[in-house]
């Protein structure tokens, strides 16, 4: 009751621009990973291969991390989706390994040894695509050389020098250990999150600097802050964000390298499911598995591994978080969204209150978010053990297992 009152007061006090998001309307539509399987590349909605994570550049290209696909003829690819909607392999030989050079011969171990197998991908405005290659303890860069050939090179990590806060060295001499999640700023500055520390590499790629351990508020009392990061992204202002499951928090890293705990209470068992949406640092996220930044920096979108939902977390840190419900609108859930889970059905015609308030609405089922594009549209899928894909009222199941959660233009 008290939390609901706080959330309402916070909403009433919110400035005008923060109210805009409550008028947003989102919809879901097919993207890729065709139902029934399909070719490994071609028209994006007809491609059968799924994806782990994706990012976008400002030219309208999308870049996809492809892990293992049982129907495909290989694994460990970086794919590109052109503005014309054709999906191609961009890099990767189809086999696990470590090999730099021409993109078709390159080998990766993305997700290998990473916490829950997570691997993410980022693009800057200069034509670089970066991927966290956890199995090779490094960050790889995919780029087009002066001759117009796509190549893969190791950008950071793979070395033996272990750095402490403030220390720096050439990026390829540094030892980067633990799960590797990255965020690339438009200018090419790369922020690298690992289990214990955070690093930055400037756009020229000449040095890697250790920013230090994670903020103490991300740890339980008397514990060293240990973040099992699963997702990361960067807004157009260059602010990097990372989300971790255990502890269930989001952190922000500014272009100047200042780290801060921006959302999520650090909780232990039993999980505080009585806590719903509210001010970001008072909200509880249940094992968040992915997060992406709104390009304008106004918020981040956190997807919960055990919530199956998308939460909107404002970066102003004062207004409330909100949950995308199954009519494509944001609602403030008074109790944890996990208690509001309904069928994986998107129904834009629904009205009413959240299920927790005895109404018909429940959260839109998504787990995990896999990426966003330059316009801020989100892309999600549903774990195969939860359901198959999104069911749209009146239209039936989407024809792809990965779908676009598109913000409808006003």
């Amino acid at each position: 009751m008290l939390r609901t009152a706080v959330a309402v007061i916070v909403l009433l006090m919110a400035p005008l621009h923060a109210a805009d998001w409550r008028a947003e309307q989102w919809t879901v539509e097919p993207f890729t990973a065709a139902m029934g399987g399909g070719p490994d590349w071609g028209p994006v909605e007809a491609v059968g291969a799924s994806l782990w994570s994706m990012t976008a550049d400002q030219e309208g290209n999308l870049y996809l991390v492809v892990g293992r696909d049982l129907d495909g003829e290989g694994e460990q690819y970086i794919d590109i989706v052109t503005p014309k909607g054709i999906r191609y392999h961009l890099a990767g030989s189809g086999m696990l390994g470590y090999r730099d050079g021409p993109a078709p011969q390159a080998q990766f171990r993305m997700g290998v040894g990473a916490y829950y197998g997570y691997a993410n991908i980022q693009a800057d405005d200069r034509g670089n695509v970066f991927v966290g290659d956890n199995g090779n303890n490094c960050v790889r860069r995919i780029f087009k050389d002066d001759g117009g050939t796509w190549r893969v090179a190791t950008w950071a990590g793979g070395g033996k020098r272990k750095l402490k806060a403030g220390g720096s060295c050439p990026p390829r001499e540094a030892a980067i250990e633990g799960t590797i999640i990255i965020a690339a700023a438009p200018d090419g500055r790369l922020t690298i999150a690992t289990t214990y520390q955070c690093y930055q590499v400037p756009p020229d790629g000449q040095t890697l600097t250790c920013l230090g351990e994670w903020p103490p508020s991300c740890a339980r009392p008397a514990r060293r802050p240990t973040l099992h990061c699963c997702g990361g992204d960067c807004d157009r202002q260059g602010n990097a964000i990372f989300v971790a499951r255990t502890p269930d928090v989001a952190v922000q890293v500014t272009p100047e390298g200042k780290m801060s705990h921006m959302a999520g209470i650090v909780a232990s068992h039993p999980k505080p499911h009585h806590v719903g949406d509210g001010p970001p640092l008072a909200a509880y996220f249940d094992t968040p598995s992915s997060a992406f930044a709104a390009p304008d920096g106004s918020c981040i979108y956190v997807c919960g591994g055990d919530e199956y939902d998308v939460r909107r977390v404002p970066t102003d840190r004062t207004t409330t978080t909100a949950t995308l419900v199954r009519n494509g609108r944001w609602y403030v859930m008074p109790v944890h969204p996990n208690r509001n889970r309904g069928p994986a059905r998107f129904d834009p015609s629904l009205t009413g209150k959240s299920r927790a308030e005895k109404g018909p609405l429940s959260n839109l089922v998504v787990a995990p978010l896999v990426g966003r594009d330059a316009e801020g549209n989100l892309y999600g899928k549903i774990n195969r053990w939860t359901a198959m894909t999104q069911d749209v009222a009146g239209k039936g199941l989407l024809s792809t297992r990965v779908f676009r959660i598109r913000r409808v233009a006003k």
Partner: protein, 430 residues
């Protein structure tokens, strides 16, 4: 003394069993190949003495290389007959995922084709056993709007049946098929959606096999999943019988095929004159297994599993009908598998992780008799390739009775996938 006799008898028996599976040397189909991957082999036999192996040469990359379809003939003794592979198509764009069958004196090779730069089409070319390619650049099988892809082909007495997945008229893929006559002048086939009980068959990853006077068709349909989630959230695998009357195809029946948990693993299908054999993999609680089921061609009904299984309901399978092909192990089967029949035996090629921390993935073979009775011990299947170098994607074709050709990808020292082939003789079943 007694122990010694038992040991001697055991050795004799094991020698006998080993001799029953005679596997020839691996031959590289194109020793002078450029450093491009050779992928997704498929093979067929002409009924006399020649196998045709087809494969995808190269892989499409953005602003990079394209793929094309090549073929090579292999004699029944395993000798490669073509020093340079047969090029089936010189068109622009990529040609991928070839499949091949033989009927009425010619091989028919089908593939998915991206020459229009916008979507996939299905094309085909006939190849004579003497190596002559009859249809340069391929004839149109399905070139409708949007994508037609991932075709499979099986022979018949009067025509080949080509089946594929098609998005020309609906968002989910539908299963389409066409009859392609072997000897007529090439003409666009076009194809039609397969319909059962007034509904179009939806889904993809189609396989076809000829049995008796009809074809078996296997595919997967994600749309048969429950929308509610939970334990029913599984891909449905389906099996149908298709008959032809003139140019018209009729779906006689549709039934569910067995599948492992989630149904994610690819399936394989083969048929003898009286039986069809469906095989796939599955996993449950990190246990990967391979299982199959035998179907009667006359009735379409599954045949009771003639084997005694040590586990029941492994990975959700009903072992009353499902036959264990590889004892559930951790780690276990690595898809895809291949199956083929010479009329008397079914042969299964399975890739299996050697051990949890061992990167080798040997290819193994399993024989079954026509009733589905296993002829090899599922705990110790004969090894086709020990997997010292990564090998994968086996393809099988039955030759003369008791003889099979196995073609598969094997990584060379430079990291390139190469298609190699071996002849396996299974005539002396124990």
């Amino acid at each position: 003394m007694l122990q010694s006799s038992v040991l001697t008898l055991g050795l004799l028996l094991s020698t006998s069993v080993a001799a029953a599976m005679d596997v020839g040397q691996a031959v590289v189909l194109w020793p002078g190949a450029p450093p491009q991957h050779q992928l997704l082999p498929a093979c067929a036999f002409d009924g006399k003495g020649t196998f045709l192996v087809v494969w995808q040469q190269g892989r499409k990359y953005f602003e990079g290389e394209d793929a094309r379809v090549l073929a090579a003939r292999i004699a029944a003794d395993g000798t490669v007959l073509d020093g340079e592979p047969l090029a089936l198509c010189a068109a622009e764009g990529s040609q991928e995922r070839p499949r091949v069958a033989f009927a009425a004196g010619v091989f028919l090779v089908v593939w998915q084709d991206f020459r229009n730069g916008e979507d996939w089409d299905v094309r085909a070319a006939r190849v004579r056993p003497d190596g002559k390619v009859l249809d340069a650049d391929g004839i149109e099988v399905a070139t409708g709007p949007r994508s037609q892809a991932m075709p499979d082909v099986a022979g018949g007495p009067e025509a080949f049946l080509v089946a594929w997945q098609d998005r020309r008229s609906s968002d989910p893929y539908e299963v389409f098929a066409a009859l392609v006559p072997p000897n007529d002048e090439p003409r666009p086939a076009g194809g039609a959606p397969l319909v059962h009980d007034g509904k179009h068959l939806t889904g993809g990853s189609v396989h076809v096999a000829r049995a008796r006077d009809l074809w078996f068709l296997a595919w997967k349909d994600d749309f048969a999943w429950s929308v509610g989630g939970g334990p029913t959230a599984r891909i449905t695998r389906l099996l149908a019988r298709v008959s032809a009357s003139g140019d018209r195809l009729q779906v006689m029946d549709v039934r569910r095929a067995p599948r492992g948990t989630y149904g994610l693993h690819p399936a394989s299908l083969a048929a003898s004159p009286t039986r069809a054999f469906f095989a796939t993999g599955g996993s449950q609680r990190s246990v990967r297994c391979a299982m199959g089921a035998m179907y009667d061609a006359a009735t379409g009904q599954p045949i009771r599993n003639p084997n005694t299984e040590t586990r029941s309901n492994s990975a959700g399978w009903n072992t009353e009908h499902a036959i264990v092909l590889l004892e559930p192990l951790v780690p276990g089967v690595q898809p895809p598998m291949a199956v083929a029949s010479d009329g008397e035996h079914f042969l299964v090629a399975i890739r299996q992780r050697a051990a949890r921390r061992d990167p080798r993935q040997p290819l193994r073979l399993l024989r079954l008799d026509a009733s589905g009775r296993r002829l090899d011990d599922v705990k110790a299947l004969p090894v086709l390739d020990p997997g010292q170098r990564p090998c994968s994607h086996p393809a099988l074709a039955a030759g003369q009775p008791g003889s099979f050709l196995v073609a598969y990808q094997s990584q060379d020292a430079g990291g390139c996938q190469r298609v190699v082939a071996r002849v396996a003789s299974v005539a002396q079943a124990r």
